[in-house]
Amino acid sequence: MPTTLTINGTSHQVDLPGNVPLLWVLRDALGLTGTKYGCGVAACGACTVQINGEATRSCQVLLEDVDGPVTTIEGLGTPDNLAAIQKAWVANQVAQCGYCQSGQIMQAASLLAEIPDPSDEEIDEAMAGNLCRCGTYPRIRAAIHDAANMIKTGA
């Protein structure tokens, strides 16, 4: 029996066994390839999406266990209509290879929803599960601070 998922506000019917992780439902069944495979064991954060607004490693959530609306990187904004956090990412030229950045942004977006003006320590803690092999951490931190300001001032 197909499973119904709400992703980025749109309802999708997925005809896959319930034990397929959400990551692969998104990437291979629905073509939402912005969410990345990095490790498959929740050790790198590249697959981070939001379920009910909470940052979640989609490689560890089975299709049958998805219990609320899913937001992926594609649901935040587009190149022509960037969300504030994405504007901050672009303005700080955060990405190098860019592969981990979808997950970084989804994690940071959850952080900002919970703590609108996080300290460096709060950023460190929230982002600890997100690996970046290019070493873009200083600019990720700067972008999160900038995004916090942009959201606060409505810029």
Binding site: L16, P17, V20, P21, L23, W24, R27, D28, G31, L32, T33, G34, T35, K36, Y37, G38, C39, G40, V41, A43, C44, A46, T72, I73, E74, L76, G77, T78, P79, L82, Q86, W89, V90, Q93, V94, A95, Q96, C97, G98, Y99, C100, Q101, S102, I105, D124, E125, M127, A128, N130, L131, C132, R133, C134, G135, T136, Y137, P138, R139, I140, R141
Partner: protein, 741 residues
């Protein structure tokens, strides 16, 4: 990046600006007569610049793997073509000789009078990059190669457009000028480049166009907004793993984990019954599962019971290093520094150092997508060497190279891993068994980490002597498996035992004046696959050499930073200035309070001098945190400061990650580490604050993708010595010290 197929075919008269490029590059014969691969594309003014109704397109000779190359190359074209940077679209070029990398063979030693390898092996080593690495993205060369050729390409295109305008208007060239994508006629009429491009494409490209003087530059030397930022912030940048084609199937593989060994037998009965598994393929030295999604393919391939044969190298880590150390008893493969009288020079101090094998661990696991249709192969492969992908995959598919179309999507990290093409070959072998069906073959993280071309494990034996506060003798021997020997065998089939400068680079080529100074490299034939890991030999040899210099400074009771300067000032002034800069930036006093340690390190690599200072702090529980890192670098010419800063700090994080966490060990012939929990890297909290200063005192332009990496490990080890009094002569440091993670 898009596809070349958007160009329709049309007759087009070719000469080529590359002829000019060849003249500009002097000896590089490969540059002289490449055919224009875009010859039949309308508006192709040369192999790099296409102007038509779609706009202005740069056909980039290098791949984007995070180093910002698509923006830097576009800025060089825009500068000379006299158009806005935003107006230049960038696509990746097809495999073609015109896109060879001249800088891959360029000389980048700090001194003109350095030792060179000699003999047949050396000749082969020199010829090697020209033969196989023509279109390589690597070696910190992209910007150096592009600085000459992209500007020439842009200037030639502009000059040719001006000639077309002069012909059309019946005026002389001297009364025409260009501005922002237009030719301006004497009466002020503005003619769009796009309206001249068709006529210009029929003209002989300008052969010796004038290049702008630095005073006229509006892009070069200034930070530019990177073209890939918005796609990468929105999940819309297409990486190799994101390729989606109609009817595409998903595959995953398990190749022999005893690298180079055989597969004896396999039993796939567990996998065959899994719902959604479509095909199980015997690849001879491994198996593949084709399925309806990647996860299922990975699950199924892991469910196959496989019996593997023996590896062609010692199965246990201790025996591997024992074999590496045996190379010290053989004649050196290279002696690239030999000054003074080593036979009679006094030595009073010795130390032995050791580093492990390392994986690249790019965030995007290895993958490629291939389809074989009617005797042709089309492959989407995130790679650093498209000509090798084309030719080697053609052979596997049993077709000619001209029947292969290679697409190079964004790479989710390269660091040298994607200079090899095994992931493209395996995807091709899968596709061969699935004719007519596009198949994406993705390796699991575990498969990726256990099937790398690793940074070799290495051992160094160092001897030295100090007198009156200076080094009088430094005699270094490094033993490691030879990357060049393995790579040449892999790509030529011949066992050539070439002279391999990577055995000692980072040690034999450092700007220190020492009267008795020798560095020898010994090649070990351990058959574990090794390859090009960000900064290659410099990654281990800077740790060996700089750590030993630091030890000698303490032997001499001289401040380590001042000690380095004493040997450097008379040898290479720009390098000394780099060290002085990092001293001033960091407020280096040579003294640190209890609980704080500082270390300095220096390495000249890829034509760039880099000095780094690391500060570590220890809390009451003994946990060590990296608080700050200062980096000074002289690149000769800086094209884009913000991007250079990103490359240097990223390179340093890569080096620090390996120094603390990185270790691939072998047991029962297999790599023991297989995923990030046992092969971790720096995280947000464990990354120091960075302070970067860029200098431009050197005459030649240096690279930037790699030089930030080599000094990181010794700077940290030297800081730990300052903090604890404990000298680390082995990596990783995480097994000897307690770090914040």
């Amino acid at each position: 990046m898009g596809k070349l197929k958007t160009f329709t075919r049309r007759a087009f008269i070719v000469s080529s600006v590359a002829v000019t490029g060849g003249v500009a590059f002097g000896a590089y014969l490969m540059a002289r007569t490449p055919d224009n691969p875009l010859a039949e594309s309308p508006g192709a003014l040369n192999p790099w610049v296409v102007i038509n109704t779609d706009g202005i397109t740069l056909v980039a000779p290098r791949a984007e793997m995070g180093q910002g190359v698509m923006t830097t190359l576009a800025a060089l074209i825009a500068e000379e073509l006299d158009v806005a940077l935003e107006a230049v679209n960038v696509i990746h070029g097809p495999p073609a000789q015109a896109y060879f990398n001249s800088a891959a063979v360029a000389e980048r030693h700090y001194s003109e009078s350095q030792h060179q390898p000699s003999g047949f092996g050396a000749i082969m080593a020199q010829a090697f990059p020209k033969v196989i690495s023509l279109q390589i993205t690597g070696g910190s060369t992209s910007a150096i190669d592009a600085y000459s050729r992209m500007r020439l390409a842009g200037a030639s295109a502009r000059a040719t457009l001006l000639q077309a305008a002069a012909n059309q208007l019946g005026t002389g060239l001297d009364v025409l000028k260009t501005e922002n994508g237009h030719v301006i006629a004497p009466d002020g009429t503005r003619i769009r480049y796009a309206d001249l491009a068709s006529a210009a494409a029929d003209l002989e490209p300008a052969q010796a166009p004038r290049l702008k003087s630095p005073a006229e530059w509006r892009y070069i030397g200034k930070s530019q907004p990177r073209k890939d930022q918005a796609p990468k912030a929105t999940g819309t940048a297409g990486f190799g793993i994101d390729v989606r084609l109609p009817g595409m199937r998903f595959a995953s593989v398990r190749m022999t984990p005893r690298l180079g060994g055989e597969m004896i037998s396999f039993d796939a009965s567990n996998a065959e019954t899994m719902d959604g598994v479509e095909k199980i393929l015997n690849l001879g030295d491994g198996v593949a599962v084709v399925a309806s999604n990647t996860w299922l393919a990975i699950e199924a391939v892991n469910a196959i019971d496989i019996t593997w044969g023996k590896a062609p190298y010692p199965h246990e880590n201790a025996d591997i290093f024992e074999k590496i150390s045996e190379a010290f008893d053989t004649d050196p493969n290279v002696t690239l520094r030999e000054d003074g009288e080593l036979a009679t020079a006094p030595t009073s101090f010795e130390a032995e150092y050791r580093v492990p094998y390392l994986a690249h661990a790019t965030m995007e696991p290895m993958n490629s997508t291939a389809v074989i249709t009617d005797g042709t192969l089309e492959i989407w492969s995130p790679n650093q060497a498209p000509i090798m992908v084309r030719d080697r995959c053609a052979k596997l598919a049993g077709i000619d190279s001209d029947k292969v179309t290679v697409h190079t999507p964004f790479m989710g990290g390269g660091y040298g891993r994607r200079a090899m093409v095994d992931f493209a070959e395996i995807a091709t072998r899968v596709a061969v068994q699935m004719p007519g069906i596009p198949v994406q073959t993705t390796w699991s993280r575990e498969e990726d980490m256990r099937h790398d071309f690793y940074r070799p494990g290495a051992i160094a034996r160092m001897r030295g002597h100090v007198e009156d506060g200076k080094i009088t003798t430094l005699d270094g021997q490094m033993a490691a498996p030879s990357i060049m020997a393995q790579t040449m065998k892999l790509f030529t089939g011949f066992d050539l035992a070439p002279a391999d400068p990577t055995l000692t680079e980072g040690a034999h080529d450092q700007p220190y004046a020492i009267p008795n100074h020798r560095v020898r490299g010994h090649s070990s034939d351990v058959a574990i696959p090794v390859g090009f890991w960000r900064s290659v030999g410099n990654s281990q040899n800077a740790f060996f050499y700089d750590s030993f210099v630091d030890e000698l400074a303490h032997e001499a009771s001289v401040d380590p930073l001042e000690f380095r300067l004493r040997h450097m000032r008379g040898e290479h002034a720009p390098s000394a200035t780099v060290l002085e800069t990092v001293r001033d930036m960091s407020g280096w006093t040579g003294k640190t309070p209890d609980g704080v340690g500082r270390g300095v390190a220096f390495c000249f690599s890829f034509g760039t001098a880099v000095a780094e200072v690391v500060e570590v702090q220890q809390d009451a529980d003994g946990v060590i945190r990296l608080s700050d890192m200062w980096i000074a670098a002289d690149l000769g010419l800086i094209l884009d400061p913000l991007n250079v800063e990103a490359q240097l700090t990223g390179g340093a994080v890569f080096g620090l990650s390996a120094a603390i966490h990185g270790e691939i060990t072998f047991a029962d012939g297999m790599a023991e580490q297989e995923n990030f929990p046992d092969y971790d890297a720096l995280r947000m909290a464990s990354t120091p604050r960075f302070h970067v200063e860029l200098l431009q005192n050197m005459e030649r332009m240096g690279g930037v993708g790699e030089p930030g990496t080599p000094p990181a490990a010794p700077a940290l080890a030297n800081a730990l010595f300052d903090l604890t009094g404990q000298r680390a002569r082995q990596l990783p440091l995480g097994s000897q010290f307690s770090f914040l993670t």
